[in-house]
Amino acid sequence: MKQKTDKEKDLEYKWYPNIKYLIAGILFGIVFVKSEVVSWFRIQEMFRLQSFHMYGIIGSAVMTAMISIFLIKKFNIKTIYGEQIEFHPKKFNKGQIYGGLIFGLGWAITGACPGPLFAQIGTGATVVLVTLLSAIAGTWVYGYFKETLPH
């Protein structure tokens, strides 16, 4: 990894460069709501194989991202700061199986993965705040028991 310049280190701790992520989040949240990805009903349809909608969204999102990553690697596209774009390979552990199954169960009950929880609250479903707090609690409990869980 290349040594960071002082300017870059400074930027990491300032809040205003983060505004661009806020804007990215806003656009993303609008797409989430308008495509009804954050709808509990659409998730129920998906898991009952009653609609192509969610499969179409996830499938085309993955294809678009895959082509983008291929192009970034092929043409060695840099960040707007001129940095090399880094990819973080994921290592297999059994957590992806156990945790994946547990998350799947939760996804189908709440009709939301973590991103949609934030969007649902934004749409005025204030009670979802409880679901979000509970998800934060779940994350905390995982952190507490991490060492004792099979990985």
């Binding site: 806003i26 656009l27 009804e36 009950i109 979802v128 509970s134 779940g138």
Partner: protein
């Protein structure tokens, strides 16, 4: 144009836009798309306890919290400015199944008949909102990511662990929606 935006967006518009978030975040700041990590950063910043898993420099990851706060704002903007005046259209089979459990209100993205402040204090509401949320938070962190980090970012970067995680998400979801949720909904 605004009329068009107000209708639900088809999958072939929304999917590629969601997919473009991946290169967008990489190019504007070398960030790997992932949302469930935000829950870990919230733990690390507010209630780290003395847990090694929450002892890290979360301020370096603060972009993620800006991003999810943006998702919240985006939800508010979409519902207030671009709101679809019609109820959500679902498969009639699903509608007739849900009607048996008393779910008939399609005016919101969440089923208001079962998710509201009153039902929260019933067993059914508790299982759906509190227990369900817990499984989402616990499971995503155990799996090392959620739909965004594994299914979209991981799969598009050809990561085998992400494929395994995604398959498990789907298996868990199928089991819940078809076998367990009907029992919870009939409570």
């Amino acid at each position: 144009m605004i009329e068009f935006l107000k209708h639900p967006w088809p999958w072939y518009v929304a999917g590629p836009l969601i997919g473009l978030t991946v290169p967008f975040l990489l190019i504007i700041g070398n960030k790997s798309f992932g949302i469930s990590s935000s829950l870990r950063h919230i733990c690390a910043s507010c209630i780290p306890g003395n847990i090694p898993f929450f002892k890290y420099d979360w301020k370096k990851e603060i972009w993620n919290l800006f991003f999810v706060f943006g998702i919240f704002l985006g939800g508010a903007i979409a519902i207030n400015l671009l709101s679809n005046p019609n109820p959500i259209e679902v498969n009639p089979k699903l509608a007739s199944e849900l009607a048996r459990y008393g779910i008939t209100n399609y005016n919101n993205l969440v089923p208001e008949d079962i998710m509201n402040w009153q039902t929260l204090f019933t067993l059914k509401g508790f299982l759906i909102m509190v227990a369900g949320g817990f499984l989402v938070g616990f499971g995503t962190r155990y799996a090392g990511g959620c739909t965004s980090g594994h299914a979209i970012m991981g799969l598009s970067n050809l990561q085998l662990p992400s494929l395994i995680a995604t398959i498990c998400f789907m298996i868990g979801g199928f089991i819940m929606a078809n076998f367990i949720l009907p029992i919870i909904l009939s409570l």
